[in-house]
């Protein structure tokens, strides 16, 4: 690896609002090298040998937690997982005390997911040694997902500057959408949002560099990529839209709507999907879909992040 002009060693990964375009670029270029490791027969390098990582998840997760764990293990780190249901969290231990406990055990990185916005930022006030990696805090941020979206776009399009990306669906509750806003805009991507008005934050339109559309078709038109966000099913019960049936009809992504985008449009979805609701199975598994690739790229991006914040990127 080349000696990097910038070092991210010791940097907390809280949200892409705290990343410079150069840092994002560094993560993406590092992730490209990391991806080759995933394809090797022996997927183990010594980059993080002797480093220890703990994942602390207060919310359920399949891909993000496994992805971080796998990333750490491929790099030779020791990875331990704590989940809310099987830890002292059920005894009412506070986040502060859980963090102090794992810090005392000597972990170098804490990968955390929490339903409260700002929990990762709060964590940086609590601990001294470990870097905090935000694996999702409420509807605030999911920086590694934002980065893997960028990585996937870059792999397919060859560049990021000037791309038009449509982000569709439940923007209100989506930490992924917010990470896209910070990350994609910094890389020169033009962002278009659409979804039911009840699922769009009221004052988002005040943010520069974002176009909000009333109709989903207008957002999709000539898009280079479409990110379909997951509808959280409990939202319908809260009266935010009338029915799943109506949502699929008016806001769901199917082949017909896909035709409005560019011919080589790329489909992204952070998962887990509600097939037949926000996305039709023909789109999810069709030629344009990069949804499975996103998962693999997620491991590569997380390998890059862990390497950069734990070692600064220099070869061990």
């Amino acid at each position: 690896m080349e000696k990097n002009a910038i070092s991210m060693r010791g940097k907390h990964v809280l949200g892409l609002e705290y990343f410079s375009p150069e840092e994002i670029q560094l993560v993406l270029s590092t992730a490209k090298e990391m991806k080759t490791i995933i394809h090797r027969d022996i997927k183990k390098v010594p980059t993080l040998r002797g480093k220890s990582i703990v994942t602390v998840f207060y919310e359920p997760s399949t891909r993000t937690r496994t992805s971080f764990e796998t990333a750490g293990k491929y790099l030779g780190a020791d990875v331990v997982n704590i989940t809310a249901g099987t830890s002292s969290i059920v005894k009412g231990e506070s986040l502060r005390d859980t963090l102090l406990t794992v810090e005392a055990m000597g972990f170098d990185a804490i990968v955390m997911r929490h339903k409260q916005e700002g929990a990762a930022e709060y964590a940086t006030k609590v601990v001294n040694h470990p870097v905090i990696i935000n694996a999702g805090d409420g509807a605030h941020a999911h920086p590694s997902q934002g980065l893997l979206n960028l990585f996937t776009l870059l792999e397919h399009k060859g560049h990021l500057e000037g791309l038009k990306v449509a982000v569709l669906g439940d923007i209100l509750h989506s930490r992924v959408a917010r990470s896209d806003i910070w990350g994609m805009r910094k890389m020169g991507i033009e962002l278009h949002f659409a979804g039911p008005k009840t699922l769009l934050p009221r004052f988002l339109s005040e943010e520069p560099g974002i176009v909000i559309h009333d109709r989903i078709e207008d957002a999709i038109k000539d898009a280079d990529a479409i990110e379909v966000l997951r509808i959280q099913l409990e939202r319908q019960k809260a009266g935010l839209f009338p029915s799943n049936r109506e949502y699929a009809r008016i806001f769901g992504i199917n082949n017909e709507r896909l035709a409005l985008a560019k011919d080589d449009v790329l489909i992204l979805h952070p998962g887990p999907m509600n097939k037949g609701l926000e996305i039709s199975p023909y789109v999810a598994y069709g030629n344009h879909s990069a949804i499975q690739e996103q998962v693999q790229n997620g491991v590569a991006v997380r390998m890059a992040l862990l390497t950069l914040v734990l070692t600064g990127g220099k070869q061990a």
């Binding site: 986040l95 502060r96 409420g138």
Partner: protein
């Protein structure tokens, strides 16, 4: 025992008095105010270069008794009030249990008198348990000394319940103080709904929740020809609704907090719950409207909404921490620094909003330096520079959004019934 507060600028808005003068205090009462008073037997208190005002009044504090003494109690709260220059405060009834009956009012008043350095008035709950379902025994509480009634902390959801309260309390000449945020619009909200909340992904509490609540209360007060007081007003539109109502002659009054006069939602940092408060810190447009409302009389008075919590409660994830922070010990400094020194409002108006106005609205004994009135007096050094240091707070509460701020202006002496209870920031036992 006689004391003379010498050479200060005496601002007594209730008597339209603003001159350099001496104040003679005898037997715990104001005895005389004149250009120069000489009395060999009197202790002299030098107030040259300082401002002498009626003891400051804060009609909105949470002293947490009974049941939540880990957050604050009458002794610590009373000390915080004295330290901040307040001689009379009114404590809200959202305690455990809720203060919703005369027996509690009487026993709490007795305890407050025993342990507090300042006068503590008690506000009774409007409804039993503050549940909004049945009227509490407000008449009984009024006769036992409750100063006003409020379900503060909760919105009175039922219009009929509020109307009953307004009608019923007319016979007792007591005011209902309302926390105006329409509940269904603020559920789970933890900061102002605006651009900042949209970008943080945090659920918002929109200004319209306050606007429609204030509008409803005003319509009901007008209908019942009764008095209603809007607690901690914070929305520009709500201020305008109050302004229009006052023009029609509706008996509505309103208070604003130091933080809603000076801070916006841009101050929200999710690392620390010190900016979490209900109603939330709003936009600059709203802050400007608070100041304008204060100046033109739409907003009658200032109250701190002093809401201390235990350290372990505030030191949590933003969304889990309770709303509110202490305000008594920072109010004078914040208001002088951000409003008076910046030229936004004049000192006499500020003093009026913290003395004569609350006394008039709630029919309190204090609030003036009239001869014969209880000698509740505050001396303010308007030029004293100091830095807010929570470790010096008398309140149990921490996580003040003003912590670390460099302020100009501070109360340097607090006198209650002629007795000095605070001098140079130190509460005197």
């Amino acid at each position: 025992m006689k004391q003379i507060i010498k050479g200060g600028r005496v601002i007594d808005p209730a008597n339209h008095f603003d001159e350099i003068a001496d104040v003679l205090i005898e037997d715990g009462k104001i005895a005389k105010i004149a250009k120069s008073i000489k009395d060999k037997d009197a202790d002299e208190i030098d107030a040259i270069g300082k401002i002498v005002t009626p003891g400051l009044i804060d009609m909105h504090v949470h002293f947490r008794e009974p049941g939540q003494e880990a957050k604050e109690d009458f002794r610590t709260g009373g000390n915080a009030a004295a330290a901040g220059g307040f001689t009379t405060v009114a404590s809200m009834p959202n305690t455990k249990p809720v203060v919703d009956n005369a027996a509690l009012i009487r026993s709490l008043q007795e305890r407050a008198n025993q342990v507090s350095k300042v006068h503590i008035e008690l506000i009774g709950a409007l409804t039993k348990g503050q549940e909004g379902k049945e009227l509490a025994e407000v008449g009984d509480m009024a006769l036992s000394g409750a100063v006003a009634f409020s379900d503060d902390g909760h919105y009175v959801k039922s219009a009929k319940m509020l109307l009953n309260g307004l009608d019923y309390l007319r016979a007792f000449d007591k005011v209902i103080i309302n926390h105006d945020e329409e509940s269904s619009l603020v559920e789970e909200g933890m900061m102002n709904e605006g651009h900042r909340s949209a970008m943080l992904g945090v659920k918002g509490r929109p200004t319209v929740a306050e606007d429609i609540a204030v509008a409803r209360d005003i319509m009901l007060a007008e209908y019942a020809d009764a008095r209603v007081h809007v607690a901690h007003i914070s929305s520009a539109n709500a201020v305008d609704i109050v302004r229009q109502a006052k023009k029609r002659g509706v008996k509505v009054t309103a208070e604003v907090t130091p933080h809603h006069l000076t801070m916006t939602d841009e101050c929200v940092d999710l690392r620390d719950s010190d900016t979490k408060v209900n109603p939330p810190l709003r936009s600059q447009k709203d802050v400007d409207a608070m100041c304008a409302g204060l100046k033109d009389g739409t907003i009658d008075m200032i109250a701190t909404d002093h809401s201390p919590h235990a350290e372990e409660e505030k030191d949590q994830e933003y969304g889990l921490a309770p709303s509110g922070f202490p305000g008594l010990e920072t109010a004078v400094g914040v208001l002088i620094t951000d409003l008076v020194k910046t030229g936004k409002i004049e000192m006499p108006l500020l003093i009026e909003k913290m003395t004569a106005a609350p006394a008039r609205i709630f029919n309190l004994k204090g609030g003036s330096l009239s001869v014969g009135a209880p000698a509740d007096v505050t001396v303010i050094d308007p030029d004293l520079e100091w830095t807010v240091d929570e470790s010096e707070f008398y309140t149990i509460g921490t996580h003040s959004p003003f912590a670390g701020r460099e302020l100009v202006g501070r109360a340097v002496l607090t006198m209650v019934d002629g007795k000095i209870v605070m001098r140079d920031g130190k509460v005197i036992d």
